[in-house]
Every structure is written in structure tokens, then in C-alpha cells.
Amino acid sequence: MATETDDDLLRRIRSGDQLALKTLYGRHHVKIFRFAMRLLRSESSAEDVVSEVFVDVWRNATNFEGRSEASTWLLAIARNKAFSMLRKTKREDELDEGAVAEIEDDSDTPEVTLQKKNKGDLLRALLAQLSPPHREVMDLVYYHDKTVEEVALIVGAPEGTVKTRMFHARKRLSELAKAAGLDRGWP
């Protein structure tokens, strides 16, 4: 029997089929969790995002128009919820979205990461330090295999902005690496 597509499952969910919801959850919950974890750095908050995403799917499956892959739609919902949580965490009254977007994690400084065992460890530590917009664009492309168009849909930005943001994320990663003693020779 051919495996049902995500679109098929969403059609069944629209008809009230809880088993289809469970199957869709089984397919996507881990990646949604990891996407949220990278943005929020909190297991319990990332779990909240996962549950809220699939509750939204249950309640609003009719909103999925099939113009993109279901995984793109799910990631877009997860992103909205994660950024909303980020804003709350950073005290919404003091920080606007732009400010939240630019915050990098300084919990592990380049000097500390220099002490990591090898280049791979160092790069992973530096990837974790990037600002949320830089982290998410790298994750969406490298881990979630999203095209320029799909990333643009998820983050709600023009495609040109997505390419520029990715370029700057790479550039920032190289700067952080250089500060940690690893000159990558680029850009």
C-alpha cells in the first residue's frame, strides 16, 4: 500500500480523523522540536511549541492551502510560536522584534569555545551562538533542506533577503571562528 502523503493526512484531519493527526505528528514532531529548540534553547519551551503546532493543525487544518509542503507550513507555525515566546522571555515591553532578532547567545564565549576539542566541536558551539535569525536560516537550509522560496515563506521575508541573511550568517560564523582562533580564510 502506498504511503499517504502529508496532504492526504491533512485532508483526513480536516474530516476529524485523529489517527491521521497522530501519523502527521509521528512524521514531523522531532524536526519541529529541534527547530524550536535551536531558537528557544529550552526543552520544555520547545515541547510547548510542538504541542501548540499540532493543536493548531487539528483546529485549523482547513487553513492549509497546499501551496507549499506541509512541513514548510508546520515550520512556519512553529517559528511564529517560538518568536512569540522569545519576545515574552525577553520582556516584550523592553524589546521589539528587531532587537530580539539580533540577540546572540553569549553564554559560551569564543575564548571558551577555543578550548573545545576539535574544529567540529568549535563550529557547533559557534553555530549555537548565532542570533536567532542567523541560526534559523542555517537550520532551515542545511538541516530542513528548504529552498530559498520555502525559507522565504517560513520567515516571511523576500527571497533576496533570505539569501542575504544566509550570507551574513556565514560571514558572522567566520568572524566568530576567527575570534576563537580559527581563521577560515573567508570572506
Partner: protein, 221 residues
């Protein structure tokens, strides 16, 4: 070149992450590979991109998975808030038909290319079962015994015959009598009798079909 304020970003350089992720279309891949063949600095850049990709994947893979209680939370909401299937789906289940068409799928797709055939009595009657057996032919409609739900339907005058055929197939409906005064035809829908409420719901669904001008419950339900 892409511009970002005063900064110039090489178009191919900008595409390298998507090239490394296998997320480009064929023409973009060809473009990137042609540039890689003649620009050694791009090849060096690609090596860094591939390193970033591998470490990003490795970092994500290390993040584990949500606990089982997360699904239980979702399931609890789904249990507490059962979704009502859309009316058309419920009716489809009721009359044993497959998924019914979405309204927009029926709405005039390809109309420009199609020959518009007004629904006239002769055309509709050609869809009636012949008392003499299968085969086309004109016969007066003499109300054969209907086994499904009985409804009266008047079709929109601009309805095409192919739309009518699709409508009858989708609803597992047969025209059993007509035309009557007001252009109504009696249809038998499905192959089982329905309750009064179910007939009301069916009539509401039929009324929403783009080719239906008006639908009413028929006699004998």
C-alpha cells in the same frame, strides 16, 4: 550581483548553501557548477559551506526529541474538541460516494476552451435510464422506482453537460423524473433511504453546488 546597502554579494556565492543542501533546481545547479569549474575561490567557499552544513546537521541531530507526554497533550485536545467533518464529506460517507468535489474544482475550470452546452430537457433526458435497457435515447420520464434519497433539483441554465455528468457521478445520483414545472428534475441520490435531517443536509449541500439553481426535498423520503 545582489546588493545589500553598499555591499555586493556574488549571486553564485549566495546560492552555495542551497547547492550544498541539494535545494536548487536544475538550471541553478548548472549555473553553480559552471562557475565552480572556473573559479577556485568558489570551490574553497563551497568546502566551508559543506563544513557548516555537516556541523549544523550534527548539532540538530544531537538535540533529541520531545517526550511522549507532548503527544498526549495534543491527543487530549483532539479528544476534547472533535472536529466536525465538512458537510460534504459527511454526506459522501452517508451516501457511500467517494470524496466529493470541492466547489472551486467545479467552478468553470477550462470554461474558455469548452463548448458550453445549455442544459435542456433533451440533454438531461439522455441521461435517464431507458426502460428498454441501456443506451441513449429520448424517453419521457415516468418516475422509475428510486431507492436513494429523493430530491428535486433545478439546474443553472448555463450548466454544461460534462458538469452535470460529474455532478451526478460525485453524488451517486440519478435523474429519475422530469422536467417538472419550474425546470425541476427528481433525482435519486445514493442507494439508501435517509432520515429527514439527512435529507435536509443533503439538500443544503446540493444547493451549494455551482450548477444547482435550487434544490428541494422530494416526495417519498
Amino acid at each position: 550581483m545582489m546588493t545589500n546597502g553598499m555591499e555586493y554579494i556574488d549571486d553564485i556565492e549566495a546560492l552555495l548553501p542551497w547547492y550544498a543542501a541539494g535545494a536548487l533546481d536544475e538550471s541553478e545547479i548548472a549555473e553553480v557548477e559552471a562557475a565552480l569549474a572556473v573559479r577556485p575561490e568558489l570551490r574553497a567557499s563551497l568546502a566551508l559551506v559543506e563544513q557548516d552544513r555537516d556541523e549544523t546537521i550534527s548539532l540538530n541531530e544531537s538535540l533529541g526529541a520531545p517526550g511522549h507526554n507532548v503527544w498526549e497533550r495534543v491527543a487530549a485536545v483532539a479528544q476534547a474538541e472533535p472536529r466536525k467533518p465538512p458537510l460534504l464529506s459527511r454526506l459522501a460517507a452517508l451516501i457511500g460516494a467517494g470524496p466529493l468535489p470541492q466547489k472551486r474544482r467545479l467552478v468553470w475550470a477550462g470554461a474558455a476552451a469548452a463548448v458550453v452546452i445549455a442544459v435542456q430537457a433533451v440533454a438531461i433526458l439522455s441521461l435517464l435510464p431507458s426502460p428498454q435497457g441501456p443506451g441513449p435515447g429520448y424517453q419521457s420520464a415516468t418516475a422509475p422506482v428510486a431507492v436513494g434519497a429523493s430530491v428535486l433539483v433545478a439546474f443553472a441554465p448555463e450548466t454544461r453537460l460534462d458538469q452535470l455528468g460529474a455532478f451526478l457521478r460525485d453524488y451517486k445520483a440519478k435523474i429519475v423524473e422530469g422536467p417538472r414545472a419550474g425546470g425541476f428534475y427528481r433525482l435519486s441520490v445514493g442507494d439508501t433511504k435517509l432520515s429527514k435531517d439527512e435529507v435536509t443536509a443533503l439538500v443544503a449541500a446540493l444547493s451549494a453546488a455551482p450548477i444547482v439553481k435550487m434544490a428541494l426535498p422530494g416526495a417519498g423520503n
